[in-house]
Symmetry: C2
Subunit: 204 residues, 2 copies
């Protein structure tokens, strides 16, 4: 395989990048200064080599010299280490951080329970949160999993495991998105929005 | 910048890849085996390091040990070396090759004349085709540039330079695309299609 076809081949393995887009990207890269392909190439190696999973929350974190890692959030003394938000993937952390309102820490499951796909409790970071709760004094566990069959099954399974420990458990609200309309909201979302309705404060 | 942000930053320089897509790609890469980031990283370096411009047609070609290059098409003795198709970019060669009907060779201009953008005859591989025509006995030059103001200006400019040499000059047909409809064909295309109408053969 010649170097161009090889580059197209590797690029087209990326999600959402077909052969046409990969070809366009490859030609773009060839037309740039060599410094660009060098720094992208280096960034790829570095990301994979230097990023490990945080020993506490399993988000990606830069490894220290001993090869172990503690992420920026877990090592931040200004964060509330007693409030844990459970998410499916590392990429779910960024949008929650962007809200600027959450000051606790995270626990990344790296997947959801899905018996049909053969993904059971052993395949995701479930027992790790139980271990963590035994060592760190925790006030609240917030579930922020996607509103899907797998997300709900995982929330249910984990909340049943955690209930006996006696920690406060909560779940992010599912409802009509900001900017959405009643008319075009799907049945499930509208059902959840009605179920989770909030009592209004009367005029003072 | 941490390795993850650095990777997102480098990926988001690619055309059509915003920060969101770059983040998605970066997480995908992190979730793959290290062999993938390694081979993509290597493919990037190789493509930039090993690919030079073909000494004859200026398409990308794998460089030999001396650092010079002759592309697969120019070095193929089964191709008609006396018929040259002029294209704007290396990426224009692939779709023409895919038709399977063209057996000649190419000349890649690496740009189109565009006085407004300050791109003149010196900035693209124009004089190179004149040099080439002096050394290689050529039967026909086919223009296959995009039907744009710049494409037409370049075709006109180059055809005027080539006319005195007395070689046959031709241009790919611009017209209604296969599968298109008269109703939804734009004014310019329809104008060209009428202008370039082909006389029909009567029944035999």
């Amino acid at each position: 395989m010649n170097p161009l076809s090889k580059l197209v081949f590797e690029l087209s393995k990326l999600p959402g990048i077909g052969e046409k887009t990969a070809t366009r990207l490859a030609y773009f890269i060839l037309n740039q200064d060599a410094s660009y392909s060098d720094s992208l190439s280096q960034a790829l190696r570095d990301a994979k080599a230097k990023l490990k999973l945080c020993a506490q929350c399993f988000n990606f974190a830069e490894a220290n010299n001993e090869g172990s890692a503690l992420c920026e959030i877990c090592s931040d003394i200004n964060r509330d280490q007693n409030q844990i938000c459970v998410v499916e993937r590392p990429s779910d952390v960024t949008p929650i951080e962007r809200t600027g309102t959450y000051k606790g820490v995270y626990h990344v499951l790296h997947g959801l329970l899905s018996p049909l796909d053969g993904i059971g409790p052993e395949d995701i970071k479930l027992k790790e949160i139980l271990v963590r709760l035994k060592t760190v004094d925790t006030r609240e566990v917030i579930f922020a999993l996607n509103p899907s069959v797998e997300g709900e099954a995982t929330t249910l399974y984990l909340s049943r495991l955690l209930k006996p420990i006696g920690i406060k458990l909560s779940q992010v609200a599912y409802g009509i998105p900001f900017g959405g309309t009643i008319e075009f909201t799907d049945r499930q979302t509208l059902g959840k929005a009605l179920e989770n309705r909030v009592e209004m404060q009367g005029p003072k």
